[in-house]
Amino acid sequence: MARDMRRSKMYNLVFVGEMRLMGEVIRIEDDRATIQVYEETDGLTLGGEIMDTGGPLCAELGPGLLSSIFDGIQRPLAGIAKEAGGIIPTGVTMPALDRRKRWHFTPLVEPGREIGAGDVIGTIQETASITHRVMIPTGVRGVIKEIRTGDMCLEDLVATLQDGTDIRPVQRWPVRRPRPFARKITSDAPFITGQRIIDTLFPVASGGSVIIPGGFGTGKTVLEQTLAKFARTDIIIYIGCGERGNEIAEVLTRFPGLEDPYTGHPLMDRSTLIVNTSNMPVAAREASIYTGITIGEYYRDMGYDVAILADSVSRWAEAMREISGRLEELPGEEGFPMYLASRLAAFYERAGMVECIGHGGRKGSVTVCTALSPPGGDFSEPVTQSALRVTGAMWALDTHLARRRHFPAIHWGKSFSLYRLDAWFCKNIATDWPQLRGWLMALLQKDEELQDVVQLVGPDALQDQDRVVVEMGFLIRENYLQQSPYSPEDAFCPLRKQYWMLKIFFNAYESALKELGNGRSLEEIFTTRRKVILADLKNIPGERFPEAAEEIIKGL
């Protein structure tokens, strides 16, 4: 709480006390303001001076964001490590982007050209795979007087307008406010993940949003990391919100060595990591989600497809609850603040495919995939329920599947996707894709019903036709729905391979029924040889399809 703050505005960024701890104004009453400090408050005394920066928490946007690692309030962790060693001292501040690094700027417009917000005036090759488009910030309009070319730092001018406005390659944007766009578009293309159960059964549109709820140990983090590696998108923003330090260490050690499966460039070239581990201050955790999505929107505005992978939004909601509790606000369900649902809705609505502002009709998208950690793995809790109402899909992770090491532990009975993408699949993969998908869904459904019977009376009580379903169900669960992120051949499964695998399973099922009609026994139908062939499908490299498939179908 601070006094004489009548001139402060809500959410202004302030520095508190001698240690200059960063904080944010979160309540104003008369001349008193309540400040939420982003850092550990041990050692804070009464009567410390407050310095108001006059503006809200902003993200710094410019070249150098990619392949960087920030904390929740966009402090560069590598830079801090260089200065302070292994731990993060309190009160440390540092600009997010390196001011000394020189970038090569190539102008795209001539002096005399009239430009407005969102117009691209030039490019910087940020990493091998991504060209950074330098845009005119919101609110600026005019005629270019001068534009430069060549190597320059972030503080250097790239252009000057006739009214004297300077344009630099870096801009700032308040993280809690969505960046503007011309209009939203409905997307009919899927966000391709290379994970069979997701792409086949529960695909999400690019520009969509999905939640991944799961109790602890169900593989949320592994799934998020798999998406970060294999998702077909231009930019990845990975937000570790309340994550484990050791897992982040694993990401940081592994990612730099990985290649983007689409471009062959290092994966870090297209990624930004935002890391606020669970022991780092809770207020910065609350800010981390906003910092991440603002950076995402910035690249969207350049016309890129961006994926936001956040792990986990429940920790963000809990940070909100903690802060709300300290403010002694009236609690809602499970102690969460009443505005939980509206904040969640506002966050998920920042996803979408848009037509960007500025000339040229660029299109960009932000796809949001968020893990949720419901307490006790119980999905009826408020965060999961509120998020469900505003997202388009759920990949529900199941404890029972995880316990038997069935990964990804996405439960096919509980998950759903509201996105209608069949038209895209028919056009780009195969016309019978929706049929195969429908067949698979029906088979799994039937299998689940039969499993209940088997649990009661044993498999022998089933009719032979039903036993074919159970047998096929088992083979599909083991060999199609499961996918190992550690297997080099299987970690990423292209859509074409998915289609052919599915087709082979379908053929195997049809021929099993036919053979059954011809009076053969189940043992004769599901021979060891056949099972081994079906089990090995996943290990066949994607580029050998469809040739390999025809051979196999003949062989079966």
Partner: protein, 462 residues
């Protein structure tokens, strides 16, 4: 004695373990406080809240005899710090770092704030050294890695302390010749449990490389909030200043959380689930996250916290929040315990998230991952069949299902159960293959053909 101490006699009210002191100025959050009672008794406290009206002091000891009138409050001007020195090895302290072994206090080489500072994730080293505990259920299926935090989820009456003791005795790391130390924090455990561990240290002759912090059941509950922090600060000192590989045992975290709830209630905070404060996740994280390794330092901190699940409920807030922070969990089962299986580790809900970093060719053996997955898959199927078999009888099952059922039994009695013996990782893996060979080749779904060829086909025989 500090010259700058300030004395106050303005205690306004006492609620539970909290003292509300008026008109105190220039005090800071986290500052240590000495409270002198009228009889001259001295007790310790800590500032947890500062406002214009009053400072809130959390008493670390009994509040019996504290009165509003004649209690002197001294603000020491410094946050809680641990006095650290290598001489601490082999010593025994109470829950807030005062010696209880009859020897004089250690001469500190340095003093550190017990709250610690978060490790910069960028500077963390990736944990990758396999720790052989000698227990197959852990080594084979839920491998422990240096720098990991892997709690044991127990319930009352289950042998969690025996398992922790056995790990203490048997733990080995491939590539010896490094310095080890154990930091043991007893948080509200009984005298009997504490003496069990002390005997265990003596038995393993590890007493001279261990530091013990003992807050026993009869000690003040609030002290429990500081005990793990003293222990972890000591562990950090040993690991990152002196290059020790430190194993920290925290038992029992359930008592810690109870103490946290007690203070929260006294502060009249809005309670979260089951009365535990809403910030318990963050608070626990500030302890558990102090495990790990640093890139540019030699040592490491591995944590084995023990959590007693109230009412054996794994969804209770304490095990639930712990599981969300730690890198997996070892879950004990009453059912296995009754069957006489020791260690009674239920491998299905157990998990080690860092397992992949510590296993494979060059660390354990190339077949480790897949053999482990396959054992899991068969055991899970076998366990499901038990339910079926109990309804329709074993005769109603098909032959392959009977094999699975038999496998599940043999797996529990042979692989999991090993008593007070130690097994090397190679023994564990070979034992696993011994159990797996009863299945025909086409039942295997998790093993690559070349591994099958080598280990199942039998070029490598146990």
């Amino acid at each position: 004695m500090e010259l700058l101490t300030r004395r106050y006699r303005t205690t306004q009210k006492v609620i539970g373990p909290l003292l509300f002191v008026e008109r105190a100025t220039r005090i800071s959050i986290g500052e240590m406080v000495r409270i002198i009672l009228s009889e001259g008794d001295e007790r310790l406290g800590q500032v947890i809240e500062v406002s214009e009206e009053h400072a809130v002091i959390q008493m670390l000891e009994e509040t019996t005899g504290v009165s509003i009138q004649d209690t002197d409050i001294y603000f020491t001007g410094s946050a809680a710090k641990a006095a650290l020195s290598l001489d601490m090895l082999g010593r025994r302290f109470d829950g807030i770092g005062r010696p209880v072994d009859g020897l004089p206090p250690v001469l500190p080489e340095t003093r550190s704030r017990i709250t610690g500072s978060p490790i910069n994730p960028v500077e963390r080293g990736e944990p990758s050294d396999f720790i052989q505990t000698g227990l197959s259920a852990i080594d084979g299926l839920n491998t422990l890695v240096r720098g990991q935090k892997l709690p044991i989820f127990s319930a009352s009456g289950l042998p969690a302390k025996e398992i922790a003791g056995q790990i203490l005795r048997q733990a080995r790391v491939v590539g010896e010749g490094e310095r080890f130390a154990v930091v043991f924090a007893a948080i509200g455990i009984t005298h009997r449990e504490a003496s069990f561990f002390i005997e265990e240290f003596e038995r393993g002759a590890a007493l001279h490389t261990s530091v013990l912090f003992l807050n026993l059941a009869e000690d003040p509950a609030i002290e429990r909030l500081l005990t793990p922090r003293f222990a972890l600060t000591t562990a950090e000192y040993l690991a990152f200043e002196h290059g020790f590989h430190v194993l920290v045992i925290l038992t029992d975290m359930t008592n810690y959380c109870e103490a946290l709830r007690e203070v929260a209630t006294a502060r009249e905070e809005i309670p979260g689930r089951r009365g535990y404060p809403g910030y318990m996740y963050t608070d626990l994280a500030t302890l558990y996250e102090r495990a790990g390794c640093l890139k540019r330092r030699k040592g490491s901190i591995t944590q084995i916290p023990i959590v007693t699940m109230p009412d054996e409920d794994i969804t209770h807030p304490i095990p639930d929040l712990t599981g969300y922070i730690t890198e997996g969990q070892i879950v004990l089962s009453r059912e296995l315990h009754r069957k006489g299986v020791y260690p009674p580790i239920d491998v299905l809900p157990s998990l080690s998230r860092l397992m992949n970093l510590g296993i494979g060719a060059g660390k354990t053996r190339e077949d480790h991952r897949e053999a482990s997955d396959q054992l899991y898959a068969f055991y899970a199927q076998g366990r499901d069949l038990r339910r079926v078999a109990s309804i329709i009888g074993e005769e109603g099952l098909t032959e392959p299902d009977r094999i699975l059922l038999k496998f599940a039994d043999d797996f529990e009695r042979g692989y999991i159960h090993q008593g007070d013996t130690t097994r090397s990782i190679v023994e564990t893996l070979d034992y696993g293959w011994g159990l797996l060979r009863r299945f025909p080749r086409d039942r295997f779904t998790r093993v690559r053909p070349d591994i099958m060829e080598k280990y199942y086909g039998g070029t490598v025989k146990p």
